[in-house]
Symmetry: C2
Subunit: 581 residues, 2 copies
Amino acid sequence: MLRTNTCGELTRNDLGKEVTLCGWVQKSRDLGGTTFIDVRDRYGITQLVFNDETDAAVRNQARDLGREFVIKVSGKVIERSNKNPKIPTGEIEIAVTALEILNQSKVPPFLIEDETDGGEELRAKYRYLDLRRNPIRNNLVLRHKMAQEVRKYLDGLDFIEVETPVLIKSTPEGARDFVVPSRMNAGEFYALPQSPQTFKQLLMVSGFDRYFQIVKCFRDEDLRADRQPEFTQIDCEMSFITQEDILNVFEGMVRTLFKNVKGIDLVEVPRMTYADAMRLYGSDKPDTRFGMQFAELTDLVKGKNFPVFHQAELVVGINAKNCASYTRKQLDELTYFIKRPQIGATGLIYLRYNTDGTLKSSVDKFYNEEDLKQWATAFDAEPGDLMLLLAGKKDKVRKQLNELRLEMGSRLGLRDKNTFSPLWVLDFPLLEWDEETERYHAMHHPFTSPKPEDIALLETDPGEVRANAYDMVINGTEIGGGSIRIHDKNLQALMFKHLGFSQEEAQKQFGFLMDAFEFGAPPHGGIAFGFDRLCSIFAGLDSIRDVIAFPKNNSGRDVMIDSPSTIDEKQLNELKIKTTA
Amino acid sequence: MLRTNTCGELTRNDLGKEVTLCGWVQKSRDLGGTTFIDVRDRYGITQLVFNDETDAAVRNQARDLGREFVIKVSGKVIERSNKNPKIPTGEIEIAVTALEILNQSKVPPFLIEDETDGGEELRAKYRYLDLRRNPIRNNLVLRHKMAQEVRKYLDGLDFIEVETPVLIKSTPEGARDFVVPSRMNAGEFYALPQSPQTFKQLLMVSGFDRYFQIVKCFRDEDLRADRQPEFTQIDCEMSFITQEDILNVFEGMVRTLFKNVKGIDLVEVPRMTYADAMRLYGSDKPDTRFGMQFAELTDLVKGKNFPVFHQAELVVGINAKNCASYTRKQLDELTYFIKRPQIGATGLIYLRYNTDGTLKSSVDKFYNEEDLKQWATAFDAEPGDLMLLLAGKKDKVRKQLNELRLEMGSRLGLRDKNTFSPLWVLDFPLLEWDEETERYHAMHHPFTSPKPEDIALLETDPGEVRANAYDMVINGTEIGGGSIRIHDKNLQALMFKHLGFSQEEAQKQFGFLMDAFEFGAPPHGGIAFGFDRLCSIFAGLDSIRDVIAFPKNNSGRDVMIDSPSTIDEKQLNELKIKTTA
């Protein structure tokens, strides 16, 4: 090795040692004829000192070093007069006897420090320099650790990691597939997998029993904030199990990650049905770091001449503890917030429970003190609380109130990034109605098993059928989801019928998997975790972008390498394709 | 779980226990009113017994079971009368009290046993059934173990696994790139990486210091026997190191794999220069499981009126120990072998050293006893040996003799799949002459560092410049290769000049990497191992296909899912491309 030590490990214990370090010049300063240089590598920072006792030629070399020059220095570890208790090497410095410039550097376009002056676009273009900064590098180190821990945990439970193919087949409904023209089979295309779903089910048919894979998946869709065209899943499947087994195994995985990566002992993960999550939080991924559950007042508020409430399918609200003192302006902000087009509520009703015990609402002309007392009771409110109510169509108003609840949680500082509140959401609906095509679609995918006790409802009330499907949610973000699959071909045929597939269509789209199921498919089920998202939650980040070494921007572009790009005519000809753009 | 135990774990120690197993019916036989069924899962096989003591309904159920039915059985572990010492569960059987058919199976198209009657094509179509067979499943279990061990080893040495992007950029010379049309950026294309070379070098620029990744790579080329369009690499890069450090770290990795996966203590890996490998074996990936090194007789055989030898640039041969007794027919076979068009030798000269001490060659009319004695000495031959000689242009004749040597090794049983002979081949040429374009090409890639002492030769004798490049070879197969990279921009510019790149071309093709190198690139180097190939060697297989769960055939097709395939007009329109096939 060119070095004897890294820049992060020398301490008092090494005093007097002759060492050689390599790294980048972080900063350099002259103080009364002495030059101090901080040299940085992946492991830390060490201070170098050049003073009267240093060879003159070496001192001159040192003075010419620029930021981000790559250097190799040899010298003796000595005690530092001006100690820095913030870093592990803060008690020592190196009295340099030899310095070699391994490479020069142009002045970087932004500061390579924890807090940088570089804008997002500039840092994206010079991603390789942004990756030098501690916060970004630490995210990738964290990601590495998490992947190692996942593999250790699953390997310990006899799971086998199997690589499934990346060049697969486009499906007729694969509207979001990336496709890959084949040169050897001109006119034909591979597709990149949106998930290895089919292959992991085939592996269960093959008897693999416990499969996992940390695997890249691809989706060519408009990139809403914080999606990437390529993303990574922890993809898992098990045979001869029940839903309970899957919940236990993967709750164990998440708990192990928290314990081994963050040193956090997670409580047992609570469970909630989809129906309850919608009723109590208006969301299938509630942020349970804070309470503020919904209270429904529909019956209570009817018949009092307030038409908005009287006609509403649902009147529902939240109790913001200790917010009775909210000003008119603050209430107006909240009203403005929920009336924004992306939320679309028509109005906000409030009820203050003043600290003096009086009640004051925005609908005082319709409701008397006694009515409002009943509301407060329904909200379990105490003096000092502020109740916020919305009314309207059930599904819509729940979604709106969910947004308001999250906003209030943020305003009240109840959404701390260092608090982790995981939750299993269970019993998702099997089907969801699609207004556009006017038919039911599988909410998860067409192989998801209905709950046995609900199968009869498929004929009479398909929207009410619950699935053996589950999501894991942390802090209001879905980090994983899966289901028990259908392994019985008669039930599968029934499902296809209700999804409006003809025998022929089903065969065309899912043919080889259906064929495989004829040869002894075991009962099986699985789950997939969004690994990027999981890492970002562990890193306390809002975006997945900084847990990805080389992410793409919102237009799906890698601005560092300038991709995608046009390709040669010759290449197009060989592939026998033409662009019509 | 649906089961209490797997089918591979019950032994005498479990006698009397009530257990529940799940698995596939491997086979079933009736012996004098008793029905025996072997039930199989990933972990093993357990015998079930149904006899007079079994409930009549359960016995009837058992009689109706077909091969590959999926069943769940409960019963008591009892001692077996007819023990099978070959399997861990061979001393027990299950007296079944309850049987549930979890799924039926059609009769599989081939036998699901270690030796199957299915042809290659049929098994490829029903790959999910072929994967049920022990030998195939064991390969994938081995692959999983190897990946785990690689990660453990590298993680232990502070390497970080970083995922690099799959959707990257096509390069002007990327003739073998798979490309991916972008919907969001119509008319533009991503490319799939042939390797993460650029990104791992950028990670070094970023200071990551020790990077690895087990990663899918892609190459769209005519698939010679045993290549796959998608393949897996163990990709690695280190900073602040010398070639010696890389050799040590990765020799350690391979030794650890052999030790922990196969229980084999490998000797220290010998090292050989490229020049010696070519001289002694005629190959840069010699199979060193056996000796039979080349002996050069060029000077010794000149001037004796045998024009073939007299005019030859090189006369070179091997000594096949104890083969003096080879018959005329055997010698004719060897002659035929080396004259085949793919080898293309013009003739084979032999010299027998008979056990009685006499010498007999196919060129006796040109060489006397004394001449032949000298040959035998040059070959270090003993009575009983057979020497085989070829003559011609140096490079060509060495390649031919390499083929003959390997053939003789096979004939003599010297290439045992359970013997492992690794080798480092060092000091590869930096450049190779390309007849077609009449210019030098980088043998490895244009960032490969020349040996410092050879840099001056770049001007005078470019073909003689050696690189800091190395391959690891096991049993005649290259399993890994890499190099120390150029990190100095002046040397890089010199390289591009000698490769015939204009400044502009170099910038266009390697622009952002060259830009990155301006900001303080550390000295670095790396290596990549072909993981499929490494697994196949560990599994003792000739082909990589059976260490891949879902491989493609020689036409790049996955016959199971029937991919690649045509795609919808609608999809093509959205991508703004047309096929012209």
